[in-house]
């Protein structure tokens, strides 16, 4: 059951968010042999779904308590402060990104890639590009998740208010918004063209669903979640997704997929959180909950500590991961791009993420903000924890 014990923090959330952060880091290093381990190669959904769901879950857990104890205004203000922190982090990453690609644009030449060099055109117009970046309309590759998170947090206070009073209505409103978004093609415009890669009006459903689960929804659903029938359906669906994905990369297998299924299924849209992706995430979650009980002894052990500690400081570690993936790509371009280098960069990056997360924990400890260093009502320490 995906529900924390009273007063306790469900370490599974930290564990899986930590793992998702690693996978996002690995996925963001292009041409990396290590990223064949990431789940996106074996099904429809990827680490983004895990990250968004758990972020919704922990946001509701932390700020829901704050809203009950400190009032709507204070909790709302704290959520907006968090959104501001994420915005600042995004702009900081954009600065690093711009520095990297300006360097690459200057140092690289190859007639084969004349066309691809067009990506550097935006460097010719810093006036427009920088303003558009600050408006969150210009978002370079792999920098789409934080803007989504900013919008989700900014819209969260009224939603949380409703979730605490009428959770079913709030979830229904979220599903309705998702449906209307698909129907009317709502999205936020982007620069220079098109719209957001992660459509907040669609992805909010996963975030709200996570929040709803945290505020008692998971408890209500526990009979369904833990039923053997649900597990069987989930496993069957995961197997189906694995098969479909393998037909994309193995020539010949495609003939086994009937045309009506293709007509119905494609395209599987990441921008608008395709229902097939959502179901794939749910199936993964159902299977995971069965395999990993919340009182699993290893959760407290040193073996899982590296992932758990990363999940506990997710904003910092997410940003660090984006930066490290730039750095790893840069090192591979400038020094060596062999398989050994790819593995070394992947492991080194994860080691830096773990070390930084442990350091942040240590800082919070000496500043008296650690879960273990402060007396108080059980579980209230989560308020100081990362979201």
């Amino acid at each position: 059951m995906l529900l924390p014990k009273p007063g306790g923090r469900d370490l599974r959330l930290d564990l899986f968010r930590g793992l998702a952060l690693w996978l996002i880091f690995l996925d963001h290093i292009p041409s990396n042999i290590v990223n064949w381990v990431t789940i996106r190669n074996y099904g429809f959904s990827d680490a983004t779904e895990i990250f968004v769901f758990i972020s919704g879950y922990t946001a509701a857990f932390v700020y829901g308590r704050a809203m009950r104890e400190q009032g709507t205004l204070v909790a709302g203000a704290r959520i907006l402060k968090r959104a501001w922190q994420v915005y600042v982090a995004h702009i900081f990453l954009f600065a690093i990104y711009t520095a990297e690609i300006s360097y690459v644009a200057h140092s690289f030449e190859n007639p084969l890639y004349h066309e691809e060099m067009g990506i550097f055109d935006f460097l010719q117009q810093p006036d427009i590009t920088l303003a558009q970046a600050m408006l969150l309309k210009f978002k370079p590759a792999n920098m789409d998740v934080l803007p989504l998170y900013i919008v989700l947090l900014a819209g969260f206070p009224p939603l949380l208010w409703l979730l605490l009073r009428a959770p079913t209505v709030a979830l229904g409103a979220s599903v309705l918004l998702y449906t209307l978004t698909l129907y009317f093609d709502w999205n936020i415009p982007a620069y220079p063209n098109g719209s957001w890669v992660f459509n907040p009006f669609a992805w909010q459903m996963l975030f709200v669903f996570g929040a709803w689960c945290a505020l008692g929804g998971a408890k209500q659903l526990s009979a369904v979640i833990l039923s053997p029938i649900t597990a069987a359906v989930a496993i069957a669906y995961l197997a189906f997704a694995l098969f479909i994905v393998s037909t994309w990369y193995m020539p010949g297998l495609n003939a086994l997929v009937p045309q009506w299924l293709e007509d119905w299924m494609y395209p599987i849209d990441k921008t608008n959180l395709d229902v097939l992706r959502f179901l794939h995430f749910l199936s993964l979650a159902v299977v995971t909950i069965r395999l990993v009980p919340s009182d699993w002894s290893l959760l407290q052990s040193r073996w899982l500590f590296p992932a758990v500690v990363c999940g506990q400081h997710s904003l910092e570690i997410f940003c660090l991961g984006v930066f490290l993936s730039f750095a790893a790509h840069f090192a591979m371009v400038e020094i060596n791009q062999g398989v050994g280098m790819q593995i070394a960069m992947s492991l080194l990056g994860i080691a830096i993420m773990v070390a930084t997360a442990a350091l942040i924990s240590w800082y919070k400890g000496i500043e008296g903000r650690s879960p273990r260093s402060r007396p108080g009502p059980p579980g209230a320490t989560l308020v100081g924890g990362g979201v």
Partner: protein
């Protein structure tokens, strides 16, 4: 990185063979490149001994050598097809324009069909759309409408996706467009020539160093040569999949 590619790389590594860079090495390293669907119009054209092919694309379908001669893959496609199809008059014309998006190309299709009535259109696209950040839905619709127009005009279509470009990979998000291209191809039973995967295999197996900075066209020319030859194989194989009877000598 896909599991198959990993397997291929691991095999290459365990053998620890320095890959020879001569001859057909690029063809072998490209792995299995087979058409998923038939090319019936090409088969009919071959049976009539006259095969006209139009290549539409953006800047990566063009390449000029030091002497100003055209050394892009369409040239090699034509040359290879002439060798593979003796007795057939093969003509490949290129309509490539830098920075052109899929919907801009789609608008040109009726004119190309009415002017030259090609049996096959090789449609290279995706990179310009990714650079310009075109709405993926607009991209997908353009491809879909394009397939309609081409088939109505009696032409088969082979889609060609982006080049694998490791230097710009962290900056240029091609995955959305590559997926859209793949989905349209599967749904419409059109052949996809997966240039991206082929070039990535070349880079991984060491056949070509696609990271290196250079001012010369040496690597680019060999890459285009190999792409053209592989594409010719796909065209001929696709024609053979068609139910109509082709020339007896084939």
């Amino acid at each position: 990185m896909r599991p198959i590619v990993v397997a291929a790389v691991l095999c290459a590594l365990s053998a620890s063979v320095a890959v020879a860079k001569e001859g057909n090495e690029c063809i072998i390293a490209a792995g299995t490149v087979a058409p998923d669907f038939a090319l019936p119009n090409v088969a009919r054209a071959i049976a009539k001994n006259k095969l006209d092919i139009a290549v539409i694309g953006s800047a990566s379908s063009e390449l000029n050598g030091p002497a100003g001669t055209n050394i892009a893959y369409p040239t090699w496609l034509e040359k290879t097809l002439r060798g593979l199809l003796p007795g057939v008059t093969v003509k490949v014309t290129t309509h490539a324009r830098a920075r052109e998006t899929a919907s801009e190309m789609e608008a040109k299709l009726p004119r190309i069909i009415s002017e030259s009535a090609p049996a096959l259109v090789v449609w290279q696209t995706g990179t310009a759309d990714a650079i310009r950040g075109v709405d993926p839905e607009e991209f997908r619709v353009a491809l879909d409408d394009g397939v309609d127009k081409l088939r109505a005009g009696g032409a088969d279509v082979v889609f060609m996706n982006m080049q694998y470009s490791p230097r710009t990979e962290a900056m240029l998000a091609v995955a959305t467009y590559a997926d859209a291209l793949r989905f349209v191809a599967l749904k419409r039973e059109a052949v996809l020539f997966d240039r991206f995967t082929i070039m990535r295999r070349w880079n991984e197996s060491g056949v070509f160093d696609l990271y290196g900075a250079t001012r010369t066209t040496n690597v680019a020319e060999r890459v285009h040569d190999c792409l053209g030859r592989l594409l010719a194989d796909v065209v001929v194989a696709g024609a053979k999949l068609a139910p109509v009877v082709s020339r007896g000598t084939d």
